[in-house]
């Protein structure tokens, strides 16, 4: 890993959303959606981000490509700080940073033909003329496994898998270097999900893309990712190579998460690590280690001291007092 080029460097990134109240709508408290993340993303890798709903994985993805303003921290893209740039200056970086959403149908205009929707990307970001744009769009459609005749069709005529292919084509249009895939295959049926994952992998090889692959499905993340970041309640709890995370999970939360996945092996009962209770609300953030309220091995001091982010073995980081 040492000789790889850094693409994105994230330092102490925080995103807090104000909860407003009272007649003057002043912020009463803050939802700490992302609460201090340090991360390096290398060129050409897939970094998986897993965690349960409300852990801040999607917010982190949105912050990293500039869809949300940072509350605190810095983001370096190719060694240039982009975290605090105004919208106007951010535009040239946005070409390089793209996103694939969970439900592409929600982001398509139902009255606009697919071809026209994809062409818009080139109208905004390039100086191509009309016929050049059309041929660009057609080659994009082919690239993602659609046909030229899909150019003149409307979103409703596409199946879920085909719509996601349109979403991928749109993200791919400007030759980005980083694509954030936010639950990109979660809404698809398994047979179609496998098709789309294979497509993403082959595009990555062909264009040397870097993926941030956000998902709650640990099987999907394992299939896609080189490295995996586990998040809990806005904080990073464990980061390591896929192998390390899945074969040798160190953080009690990662262990519980992995043990909770139902395996496709009937009658082979695995011992599940049961977590008590539910995820605490992010507006009522626990003191100390965010996981201590549900942790099976929590000690008294876990409620007071925030655990340090430590490198336990090479490239394997954990935030836990007890490891």
């Amino acid at each position: 890993m040492g000789n790889q080029t850094q693409l994105l460097e994230v330092k102490n990134v925080k995103k807090h959303f104000p909860v407003k109240g009272g007649i003057f709508q002043r912020p009463k408290s803050f939802v700490k959606a992302v609460n201090g993340v340090d991360l390096t993303v290398f060129e050409g890798e897939t970094l998986g981000i897993v965690g349960e709903s409300g852990c801040g994985k999607s917010t982190l993805g949105r912050v990293l490509i500039g869809l949300e303003k940072l509350t605190e921290g810095t983001i370096y893209f190719n060694e240039e700080s982009i975290g605090d740039l105004p919208e106007r200056k951010l535009k040239k970086y946005k070409k390089n940073l793209q996103m694939i959403f969970q439900d592409p149908f929600a982001s398509l205009n139902p009255r606009q033909k697919i071809g026209d929707a994809l062409e818009e990307v080139f109208i905004i970001h390039s100086e191509l003329n009309k016929s050049e744009r059309k041929s660009q769009v057609q080659s994009l459609l082919k690239e993602v496994g659609l046909k030229e005749e899909h150019y003149d069709r409307y979103p409703r005529e596409f199946s879920g898998g085909q719509r996601q292919r349109v979403g991928i084509a749109r993200a791919l249009a400007l030759n980005p270097s980083l694509i954030v895939c936010d639950e990109a295959v979660s809404a698809l049926d398994v047979s179609v999900q496998a098709q789309v994952m294979k497509l993403l992998k082959s595009l990555q090889n062909k264009y040397h893309l870097t993926y941030l692959f956000i998902s709650h499905d640990l099987g999907v993340v394992r299939y896609m990712s080189d490295r995996v970041l586990v998040m809990y309640l806005g904080a990073q709890v464990e980061l390591g190579d896929s192998q390390q995370i899945y074969n040798n999970p160190l953080h009690p939360y990662t262990r519980a998460l992995l043990s909770a996945i139902p395996r496709s092996k009937p009658k082979q009962k695995r011992e599940r690590i049961k977590l008590k209770g539910d995820l605490p609300s992010a507006s009522d953030y626990p003191t100390g280690c965010p996981f201590h309220t549900r942790c099976p091995i929590a000690q008294d001091y876990c409620a007071e001291v925030i655990p340090e982010w430590r490198e336990i073995e090479e490239n394997h980081f954990v935030a836990c007092h007890e490891v």
Binding site: E52, G160, V190, A194, Q195, G219, R222, P262, R263, P266
Partner: protein, 331 residues
């Protein structure tokens, strides 16, 4: 074990602008007492419509156009709405995927829990309140007494699903239909809910129809598995056979397209194409357009359900080849 539910040649159609579209195409299956039957398949395969047909809860443009559904030898088809209301929440219960849309947002948890008890068990309000507290304890909700006065929005997703389960089990039904009850939940919460359903099932001794698309959940909870594709049952077997010796190419494809958390080296298999629409008339086997093993006969003639073992059936022509002693083509 004795038979609880018998579904025979069930056919459900929807009236639409494009005509009568069959969503469930003459399927037959059964559930024994204390048994869990999992119905698996992808969206549009008819698994939810099958469960709604049993409950008599089809949307207004849907109707059962043939077959029979017998619960303890009583045919449910043709029953009046009043008669079905007597059964629902009593002998027949259902839990849904999204508890927030199934629970009434303006009524307290207590009110909604007491309802089945006062209607079906003729309990007084006081008795019903007492029984509700016991039910909430049973499904593992802490501070059950205070929870009775709360509204659904005050509870988390996992807690809401527990309330749904408590409501469904209030009258100790003989059959519980669970339609993707854990799909919207996080894995750690899903594990809690699956364990809970399993525990309560052996307590009450009810039969369960569990509808899901997640093969992991199937392995966890099923006794028997029924795989559906495009409105038809393509394979039925006990849970071990489905995972260790799947016969139908669709079942195999389904199992091989799920990424395994424990195996990095796994090569994902892809089922080409996508699920046909309800109004697509496909001649022969409904899967042949996507099937890697399709032969000439598959295009023209619908396969019958072949017996693999007495507990294992597959609706595929490959079985005929196997059984007539020709080389095994599907290994």
């Amino acid at each position: 074990m004795s038979r609880l539910l018998n579904v025979d040649n069930l056919e459900t159609k929807f009236r639409t602008a494009d005509g009568h579209l069959p969503a469930v195409r003459k399927i037959s299956f059964s559930v024994d007492k204390e048994e869990t039957l999992c119905i698996v398949g992808e969206s549009g395969c008819g698994k939810s419509i099958t469960s709604l047909s049993i409950m008599g809860l089809l949307p207004s443009n849907g109707e059962i156009t043939g077959g029979s559904i017998r619960l303890d030898d009583e045919n449910l088809i043709g029953k009046s709405e009043e008669e079905m209301e007597q059964l629902r929440g009593n002998a027949l219960s259902m839990i849904f995927q999204e508890p927030m849309t199934a629970l009434n947002p303006v009524l307290t948890i207590g009110y909604q829990l007491r309802e089945p008890l006062t209607i079906h068990k003729n309990m007084s309000k006081k008795e019903a309140t007492k029984a509700s507290i016991e039910l909430l304890d049973k499904v593992g909700i802490p501070d059950s007494k205070e929870k009775l006065d709360q509204y659904p929005h005050e509870l988390s997703g996992g807690m809401r699903q527990r309330v749904m389960i408590a409501m469904a089990l209030a009258c100790e039904p003989s059959l519980l239909v669970a339609d993707e009850p854990t799909t919207a939940l996080d894995v750690t919460i899903q594990a809690q809910i699956l364990d809970l359903i399993h525990e309560l099932q052996s307590d009450i001794g009810m039969g369960v129809i569990f509808v899901t698309h997640d093969m992991g959940v199937v392995a966890d909870i099923a006794d028997r598995v029924m795989v559906m594709y495009a409105g038809e049952v393509v394979e039925v077997a006990d849970v071990e056979s489905i995972f260790e010796n799947p016969q139908h190419p669709y079942t195999k494809g389904l199992l091989e397209s799920v990424p395994d958390v424990d195996d990095v080296s796994q090569e994902l298999q892809v089922i080409k194409g996508s699920m046909p629409g309800l109004n697509d008339e496909i001649s022969g086997c409904r899967f042949h357009l996507r099937c890697p093993f399709a032969t000439e006969v598959c295009k023209h003639k619908e396969p019958p359900s072949f017996e693999v073992t007495p507990t294992h059936y597959s609706k595929c022509w490959l079985q005929e080849v196997n059984q007539s002693g020709q080389p095994d083509t599907i290994t």
